[in-house]
């Protein structure tokens, strides 16, 4: 199933399909290893609901929902 990264449940694993975000933040997201095919696991949301914590390429990355909305992923099931 292809969904926005923000829609992943905690603990759910997925693969990056494409990036729809633009500008400087897109460059940063790419540099941080979020490229098509990369495995992303949803870890949690921060106590106040935003930002999110994901695991990508073996490390923990936090990004806001606004940024995560620009990342499309495919879940395994």
């Amino acid at each position: 199933m292809i969904i926005e990264l923000t829609k992943l449940k905690v603990g759910q694993k997925s693969r990056v399909v494409s990036l729809t975000c633009t500008g400087a933040v897109r460059r940063r997201i790419i540099d941080m290893g979020i490229t098509p095919g990369a495995v992303v696991v949803m870890r949690k949301a921060a106590p106040l609901g935003d930002p999110l914590e994901i695991n990508v390429r073996g490390y923990e990355l936090s990004l806001r929902k606004a940024e995560a909305q620009g990342i499309t992923v495919e879940t395994e099931d």
Binding site: R27, I30, A46, P47, L61, S62
Partner: protein
């Protein structure tokens, strides 16, 4: 001349630890050529090697995204170091190697220091170093910067590479470690596109001194600085445009295609070289700690609990006792010893006065607060080194977002409780210029450790029983004013969209005693230097100006002295705030030299011999309301000159610096006025 090495790596990969390990105490802080940004340089002290090493800011990539990336990139491209020492976190290989692959394209000899190899072994994982070296075409030396292992080998490898690495423009044969030229990481259409572009631009690259592979790759990514430096002709540009547009597919556009290939190559490398004991997604110790520390319900109470604990220890019984101990040593034991000595050798009255009241009285009042300052720094260092600061940013981002800032601003602001100077420099991690400016303007409102002695002085005189409440209220007030200021600035001079927030949460690490010791040693050194130069000078000048009048005659009543005259002129400004006497205004202004100077000046002007006597004299000169107002103004007013100089440099604009200082002065006056009026009613 010896070789020049550049130390490059991701943030949190142990770069500073390695730098300290190879340079020992042989470090000095210089400025970047061209732009005035501080850089740390040191001489390598191992085996009499003649080489110097520059510690470049920790970065994830060479994209011109944050200031630190621009600084690092320009340094390598413009200064042509003889060798790059690329430090790579072995526990986070994939993302760290992404930067390595970019660095490799710069055509500068390079060695990889594979750090934290001990942690990898402890986890039961294994990395085939030989295979990794061969596949990357770069010599890899496993090290543990924290434990100091592998450093010798690394430096030998570096020396060897620097000597032989340039044999054929970075692509070399190395008989000793069976290494051949670096493999081409690009495949298929991307590879042929790069080769085509390389042919097109090779003359331009030679002319401008840019590495060819790097430039070709950057042109595909549409990198603005490279386009600008190369200044290609229109024909070449349109040819490149058509080559690049052919590369793009539905999901992978030009910006992504290079990163995609790099990561694919890295994955193929790690798949062959790394054997993991656990599957991906295995719960590490760090994950377990985070289950509590960033827990939905526990995170925020824990954060505030931690802050309270730190302030309680620093300002509570422990800090106060240490302060009394040092105060007794300096102001009783040492001062009376010196006074007796001077009287015995027959020194004149004014000389005894200058040394004992001016120098020792002034500096002693300040020095006695050193233990508290060190305690606060000790805790802040632990928060920083352990990785908790990033969690604080994660937890607080949502709250800061609502005042238009990002969680990343939170880290410099917390550091501001220690000292504004490093805090302002820490804003370099903020990518957005608007966020950076606002954060820099807010940092001085955080109560830095140098403001502590001023609080302690007044608290001792007026609120000894309610120490915690008073100090707490001041820290809180600073924080609230910062929030209000952020909102005001956001709505007026610094409008603009919300900055993005993309931040790594590094694994927790046990802060090592050695690093903590180094932090504290630096702080003591800083403080002693400041005491010996700025504060000493200020104390002498202040003592002199209150002892003599404008015609250099000794005055009995110091109100008639030089200082008294100047102070009386300034006093009306402070009168509505509750402390309109000349001694207060002079003390406050001396706080612009260094905040601690307020205490030493006050000591001299009130004619106090030690902290106990000073507090008695202050109790007579102020009311609780005016004392509190004085503390508030001290908290919010323009920071010390070291902080102002840093602001000026980091803002890189006279206009913005002036605006920031004006804003702080006005805010301080208005808030203090309100606080004083309210306090008059309450107390």
């Amino acid at each position: 001349m010896g070789y020049r090495y550049a130390l490059v790596g991701n943030p949190n990969c142990g770069k500073t630890t390695l730098f300290n390990a190879v340079t020992g105490s042989n470090q000095y802080v210089g400025n970047w050529p061209g732009v005035t940004v501080e850089k740390k340089e040191g001489k390598i002290t191992h085996d009499n090697m003649d080489a110097s090493i520059v510690d470049l800011p920790g970065i994830y990539s060479l994209s011109p995204y944050s200031m630190e990336e621009i600084v690092t990139r320009n340094y390598i491209l413009d200064e042509h170091p003889d060798l790059i020492v690329n430090i790579v976190d072995a526990t986070n290989l994939e993302r760290n190697l992404y930067l390595s692959m970019q660095l490799a394209e710069l055509g500068i000899p390079m060695v990889i220091a594979l750090n934290m190899i001990d942690v990898v072994e402890k986890n039961g994982d294994n990395i085939d170093i030989q295979m990794l070296s061969a596949m990357l075409g770069i010599r890899v030396v496993p090290i543990s910067a924290a434990k100091g292992t592998g450093i010798h080998k690394l430096l030998h490898a570096a020396n060897h590479e620097a000597e032989h690495g340039n044999d054929s423009a970075g692509r070399h044969m190395d008989k000793h470690c069976n290494m051949c030229a670096p493999p081409d990481i690009y495949t298929g259409p991307v590879r042929s596109a790069i080769l085509k572009i390389e042919r097109l631009i090779s003359d331009d690259c030679n002319e401008r001194g840019l590495p060819l592979r790097w430039s070709a790759v950057k042109l595909i990514e549409g990198d603005a600085p490279t386009l600008e430096t190369l200044a290609l002709r229109d024909a070449a540009l349109s040819r490149i445009e058509s080559i690049v547009s052919e590369l793009e597919t539905k999901n992978i556009d030009r910006e992504m295609v290079i990163a995609d290939q790099k990561y694919q190559y890295i994955c193929s490398v790690t798949a062959k070289c790394v054997t993991r004991a656990h599957e991906a997604g295995h719960m590490t110790l760090s994950d377990k700690i985070d289950r509590v520390v960033t827990n939905k319900y526990l995170a925020i109470p824990l954060f505030f609990g931690l802050m309270l604990l730190i302030f309680y220890i620093t300002f509570g019984a422990l800090g106060a006792n240490l302060t009394n101990l040092v105060d007794g040593l300096i102001n009783d034991t040492f001062a009376s010893f010196v006074r007796e000595g001077l009287v015995r050798v027959g020194a004149s009255d004014w000389a005894v006065g200058l040394v004992c009241d001016g120098v020792i009285g002034g500096l002693g009042a300040v020095l006695s607060f050193l233990p508290q300052i060190l305690l606060l720094f000790f805790f802040l260092s632990i928060l920083e080194d352990s990785g908790y600061m990033a969690r604080a940013a994660f937890i607080m981002d949502r709250a800061l977002h609502s005042i238009g800032l990002s969680g990343k601003s939170f880290v410099p602001m917390l550091m501001g409780f220690g000292c504004s100077v490093p805090a302002v420099m820490a804003t370099r991690t903020l990518e957005n210029e608007k966020d950076r400016r606002i954060t820099m303007m807010l940092i001085p409102f955080m109560s830095c450790s140098a403001k502590m002695p001023v609080y302690s002085m007044f608290i001792l005189a007026f609120f000894p029983a309610r120490r915690g409440l008073v100090v707490g209220s001041l820290y809180l007030l600073g924080f609230l004013v910062a929030i209000a200021a952020a909102l005001v600035l956001q709505k007026t001079v610094l409008k603009g969209g919300h900055a993005p927030f993309v931040m790594e949460l590094p694994p927790y690490r046990m802060p090592t005693l050695k690093t903590l010791g180094l932090h504290l040693y630096d702080k003591i050194k800083d403080f002693m230097t400041k005491a010996g130069t700025v504060l000493l000078g200020a104390s002498v000048v202040i003592w002199f100006c209150q002892y003599f009048n404008f015609s250099l005659h000794h005055v009995e009543n110091s109100a008639e002295s030089i200082l008294g005259t100047v102070g009386s002129f300034l006093a009306p400004i402070f009168a509505p705030l509750g402390f309109g006497d000349w001694k207060s205004s002079v003390s406050m202004i001396s706080g612009l030299i260094a905040r601690e100077s307020i205490v030493s000046t006050m000591g001299i002007l009130q004619g106090a011999g030690d902290t106990g006597m000073l507090s008695e004299l202050i109790a007579k000169a102020y009311t609780p309301a005016s004392a509190y107002a004085f503390m508030v103004f001290n908290l919010l007013f323009i920071p010390c000159m070291a902080a102002v100089a840093t602001l000026r440099r980091e803002m890189n604009s006279r206009k913005w610096t002036a605006l920031a200082l004006g804003f702080q002065a006005v805010t301080a006056w208005v808030i203090t006025f309100i606080v004083y009026q309210v306090c008059k009613v309450i107390f």
